[in-house]
Amino acid sequence: MSDGVAMPRDGKGAARGRRAPLSSLWLLAPAAVLFLFVFILPVGEVALWSVQGEAGLSAENYEAALGAGPYRTILFGTLQLSFGVACACILVGYPAAYFLASRPPRNRTLLLLLILTPLWVSVLVRTFGWIVVLGREGLVNSMLLGIGAVDGPLQMLYTRGAVYIAMVQVLLPVAILVMFSTMTTINRSLLMASRILGASPWRGFVHIFLPLSAGGAVNAWMLTFVLALGFFITPALVGGPKETMIANLIATQITLTLDWGLGSALGMVLVIAGFAVVGAVALLFRRVTTLSGHGGSR
């Protein structure tokens, strides 16, 4: 990465560089074949189901999914919740990733391991853990009651707050790892140079480190957002009715009511909405993402 080759600043060079010689396209073949069979074909089939009506093609499933009613409310609720969770992951994870990246490499391994350990525990178990902690007679309530801070147990479970806490805890390691890997590619001598030229540490951070790491943060946001969209165990176990996720609805249609047309339409809507949000964010932050793509190491 830090090979000293100057990249043009206007981005045209990057586009030219991306054009790979045709002869090496076969390198993509294994991935393309896998992708075709495990993604494109199944999703295509689901897309077909979603437009099949009693007699031929029909938009009725999409009307049911997007028309006024519970499904639309739940879809917007899912997008909103995932948006909030992704933002919270970045806010909490960024300082942690910064801390990690500024440790000497030898100490990082242990710290990384600590961040990764929760990933080895099943989401279900971690969620039940939160039930124990946040419950009526749980850890937090017993403590608050014990020191006399509250008169009766607080209702913490089955609230939006509980869903935020549990989902952020599940997704945080992913966000930290993505941001961390971008931060390690940032050339620290740039910061040193800014200090030599008289900038304060804060100014160095705001003008050098933050822009160079922003791309990682945007990527981490997109990844956690997409993962959050598909959540359903956690919100179902620690949230209230208002935290019903679209994934729960899809599961109901597939396994309970056997309305696969509606289930497929809901699934397609989720995929498209996910792409739309991620696409919009990627466009919006195009400048920062391209910057950190190859700017960090120069």
Binding site: V38, G69, P70, Y71, T73, I74, F128, I131, V132, G135, R136, E137, G138, Q155, L157, Y158, A236, L237, G240, P241, K242, T244, L249, T252, I254, T255, L256, T257, L258, D259
Partner: protein, 354 residues
């Protein structure tokens, strides 16, 4: 992950299918039973599968599933039949029979003496055992000197204050609401089928909604909530509440107005070994000695009346199909729900969000 494993196994089955089928036909000595896994699968294995294999030489494979009906549909549409016997409770049976996904049961093999009542003797399924969705009550949280006796009390948040939980499903809950509203358990479906029935049930549910802290989704959740004191009153499967009692928790089970749900098993259309599947059904689910063993292992019981000749009176009173308990409950009408679930489910989602 599970879905991935499943697709992989389907893939493997497609690749190896031709060879396997030929092998099975020549040997003809294996059946695959799908069920919900867990303690039930272990009980089946110990009481039925191991002795069955020993006596007949037929190997029995269990396959765990959580969404039997969807899987049956997939296997039928792809014509890749992996199971011989599959669970078809609730809307599973009416939906699969209507679509022609099941083999008829040969009752001359499975119930030659005609012991089972009609509810367990369906054209396309045997009612293997029954379980109840009943009320579990934390007795230590009851107000001083009051006895809790059924759905009217569940709805009475003034006399019996405290958090409650119900299943996140319109099936059963509409029935419970009607019973709380004064309908006799034996008449709930007559009322539900009447034009104003569903509206009446939802109106009654409006009253209890603020007291429901959580709508449970998986069977272990309500007992967990009862055990941790998160709720004082819960609907749950009778076996799970009885497990709490075994763990010495102050919990009582209320049979009054409970919903009796039959655990049906069917032979899927195109199953590789229909004959041996029928034999297994008779061996496991219609032999009194084994059914009594099953009832002792888990408090889920058969409709075969002969099991009460084997079980003691004390054992019998804990079972959902014992005469005394049978009388005060209603049987979940799976046909009603197969017909109406899609429509009512949407209303249910909307109602919960309000």
């Amino acid at each position: 992950m599970k879905k991935l494993l499943w697709s992989l196994s389907v893939g493997a089955a497609i690749v190896g299918g031709a060879g396997d089928a030929a092998l099975a036909q020549s040997a003809n000595k294996s059946i695959t039973i799908a069920n919900y896994g867990g303690a039930w699968a272990e009980t089946l294995n110990r009481i039925c599968i191991e002795p069955f294999t020993k006596e007949t030489g037929i190997t029995v494979t269990q396959a765990a599933t959580e969404d039997s009906l969807a899987q049956i549909r997939v296997q039928q549409t792809t014509k890749n039949i992996l199971w011989d016997i599959a669970p078809t409770e609730r809307s599973g049976l009416p939906v699969s029979s209507k679509n022609g996904w099941l083999e008829p049961i040969d009752w001359s093999v499975v119930d030659p003496e005609n012991k089972l009542p009609p509810v367990a003797r369906k054209q396309y399924a045997i009612g293997a055992i029954a379980y109840s969705t009943t009320i579990g009550v934390r007795t230590d949280k009851l107000p001083e000197g009051k006895t809790f006796s059924g759905w009217k009390d569940f709805w009475d948040v003034k006399s019996f204050p405290g958090p409650r939980t119900l299943r996140n499903s319109p099936a059963e809950n509409l029935e419970f609401a009607l019973i709380a509203d004064g309908v006799k358990p034996s008449e709930v479906y007559t009322v539900l089928r009447s034009p104003d029935g569903v509206d009446r049930a939802f109106r009654k549910l409006d009253e209890i909604k603020p007291a429901i802290t959580v709508w449970w989704t998986s069977g272990q959740q309500p007992v967990q909530l009862l055990a941790s004191g998160e709720v004082f009153y819960a609907t749950a499967f009778n076996g799970r509440i009885q497990q709490l009692q075994k763990d010495k928790l102050p919990v009582r089970i209320i049979w009054d107005g409970g919903s009796l749900d039959v655990s049906y098993y069917s032979i899927v259309k195109g199953a590789r070994n229909v004959a041996d599947a029928q034999k297994f059904m008779k061996y496991c689910w219609n032999t009194p000695s084994r059914l009594a063993e099953i009832a002792r292992a888990m408090p889920y019981s058969s409709f075969n009346p002969d099991i009460y000749k084997i079980l003691s009176a004390d054992e019998a009173k804990e079972l959902p199909t014992s005469p005394a308990n049978l009388e005060v409950q209603f049987a979940l009408d799976s046909e009603y729900w197969a017909e109406n679930l899609p429509r009512i489910q949407k209303r249910w989602e909307a109602w919960r969000l309000q």
